[in-house]
């Protein structure tokens, strides 16, 4: 399952603090191209904070400081001359709760290309992105309806389509199914397998079965520390660390 692949994104000794409180402690984690990497761990273990640092979404939270570096394509995205906007154009994100803009379905998907001045072939772009997100068939007849009328699962796939419209290289997903029902969850998991042909995915989840089902590599975090990282199969069947074993076998958490 895990053929050799390039490292596309890498956290090197990353520590993140909210004011005085360390939320992520010296984490080093590689992310392989065209693979799904999942980050698991109990609530408050710092997994979402780490994920948000991969496309500098923590910039918007007051008093957050980061040490170490995150390299993307061998460039440090936290370098002084790095542009967070350019970073996010390449590294998209899908959030815990679906957050479509209060606009039409079409406008949601077309939004990112539009602000980037890509005006030609917009219909194709929107169709392409919606198809990739496996939403096209359900919405093709009502592209100009409000996105807020879609069901939760559809909204989340719309958010995925919205993120795909600019063809990012990486898609970060922060517990994308936690607000969805099991059927919608299954659809999104299926979608992940198709998407990894095109891009690289990092997914944070507190659902261990989900991590085991979808990901190629898994990282287990606890109290801000990366306890163990490895191929998903190894981590779930033969963990090296005792804490990992207790967590994946459900003895705590």
């Amino acid at each position: 399952m895990t053929q050799p692949s390039e490292i596309l994104l890498q956290a090197n000794a990353v520590s993140i603090a909210y004011g005085e409180q360390l939320a992520v402690k010296a984490v080093t984690l590689p992310v392989y191209q065209h693979r799904i990497t999942s980050i698991i761990g109990p609530s408050g273990c710092g997994k979402s904070t780490l994920l948000r640092s991969f496309n500098r979404m923590n910039d918007f939270i007051d008093h957050v400081s980061l040490t170490g570096e995150i390299s993307f394509n061998d460039q440090n995205i936290y370098a002084p001359d790095a542009d967070p906007v350019a970073v996010r154009l390449n590294i998209g994100m899908v959030f815990q709760k679906p957050n479509p803009f209060p606009k039409t379905i079409y406008e949601n998907v077309a939004w990112a290309p539009k602000i980037n001045g890509l005006k030609d072939n917009m219909d194709d772009r929107v169709e392409q992105a919606l198809k990739q997100a496996a939403l096209w068939d359900e919405v093709k007849d009502r592209l100009h309806d409000s996105a807020l009328n879609l069901s939760g699962g559809q909204q989340q796939r719309l958010c995925i389509a919205r993120a795909l419209a600019m063809n990012p290289l990486v898609l970060l997903m922060d517990e994308p199914c936690s607000a969805l029902d099991p059927v919608s969850t299954a659809r999104i998991e299926d979608l992940l397998f198709e998407l990894k042909e095109k891009l690289t995915i990092v997914i944070v989840t507190h659902n261990m079965q989900q991590a085991a089902r979808v990901s190629d590599f898994t990282a287990f975090m606890e109290n801000g520390v990366l306890i163990e990282y490895g191929p998903t199969e190894t981590l779930f069947t033969n963990p090296e660390n005792e804490r990992t074993e207790e967590y994946v076998t459900g003895r705590f958490g």
């Binding site: 496309n55 979404m57 918007f60 007051d62 906007v85 350019a86 970073v87 996010r88 154009l89 390449n90 998209g92 994100m93 959030f95 709760k97 957050n99 479509p100 803009f101 209060p102 606009k103 939004w111 990112a112 602000i115 980037n116 958010c159 919205r162 993120a163 600019m166």
Partner: protein
């Protein structure tokens, strides 16, 4: 010897007259607000009714000369409406863009420390009595205008309009700030994660999402500007003037009401009744605007809850 249980009564021991009296007393207090509205509507409509028995409504609403205190008397309210309109336009040009920009700065850019500094300053601005703004118009804004544009008259609509704009600015800023901050952060996150700049997030997502709240703030600001009295009485003049030139002296509805009350006009005369007729127009206009603003605000509150 067996103990008998003490008697337990679940019916009312006494009728508690105090509770009843108090309830009615409190209700009476709340009803005073309704009585106030009735008084306002009643007084204005009765006197206006007498006024219309002597002056045809069409003369009042469409007449172009307003000279109720001079001979020949004429009762066309249009000059006063034009005066008020000029003030509203001036105030809107100052208060709406500046207020919205302030709100955007506070809500989208300022850190908590800056907010804690700027918000009280806006509150101070909002708490300064209108007479002080009138003084500011006369002693600072008008002289400055006359230096810039020498043809400006001593009393002019522009100066009063600018000052009324400054006066309603804090309200616009604070209401727009509320509207912008009601937009959930998830929307901002979504937009930023797509590689948008702060301007794109603000102008294309946050402002459109809070448009109804911003619009309500604008309507309320206009309503306030229409009802503003002291600054326009002091700075805009007392010449009912059918003009759209902001550098000329004009008279607003409010300034006319003050002018009549400054003279000793006997009750029951036609000039006394003009006060109520103009007051009724003023009241109707602000009431309609306030109702519109409240309706818009109630609707947008529902969106994100």
């Amino acid at each position: 010897m067996s103990q008998t249980a003490p008697e337990i009564r679940l019916t009312r021991a006494r009728s508690r007259p105090l509770e009843k009296v108090l309830r009615w007393l409190f209700f009476a207090c709340a009803a005073i607000s309704v009585l106030t509205t009735l008084a306002v509507v009643g007084v204005l409509s009765v006197e206006t009714f007498y006024f219309f028995q002597q002056v045809p409504a069409s003369d009042f609403l469409f007449g172009t000369r307003w000279t109720p205190l001079l001979e020949p008397k004429s009762y066309g309210i249009l000059p006063l409406l034009f005066g008020t309109t000029l003030i509203v336009i001036g105030a809107a040009i100052v208060a709406l863009p500046v207020g919205l920009a302030c709100a955007i700065y506070l809500s989208e850019y300022a850190g908590n420390r800056t907010r804690d500094l700027v918000k009280p300053i806006l509150e101070i601005l909002a708490g300064i009595p209108t007479i002080v703004y009138g003084f500011f118009a006369i002693t600072f804004v008008t002289p400055s205008l006359r230096t810039l544009i020498p043809s400006t008259e001593v009393f002019n609509a522009a100066s009063a309009g600018i000052v009324v704009g400054i006066m309603v600015l804090p309200m616009v800023a604070s209401l727009c700030d509320d509207a912008l901050r009601a937009v959930p952060n998830a929307l901002r996150d979504g937009a930023y994660s797509l590689g948008a700049t702060s301007f794109e997030v603000t102008a294309r997502i946050v402002v459109p999402a809070s448009l109804s709240g911003i619009f309500a703030a604008f309507v309320l600001a206009i309503s306030r500007a229409i009802g503003e009295t002291m600054a326009v009485t002091l700075a805009a003049g007392a010449t009912p003037n059918l003009t759209l030139n902001p550098l000329e002296s004009i008279q607003t509805m409010t300034a006319y009401i003050v002018q009549v009350s400054l003279g000793d006009t006997p009750a029951g005369t036609l000039s006394y009744q003009t006060l109520f007729a103009v007051g009724a127009v003023l009241f109707a206009m602000t009431l309609v605007l306030n109702l519109i603003a409240n309706a818009i605000m109630n609707r947008y509150r529902d969106v994100y809850e």
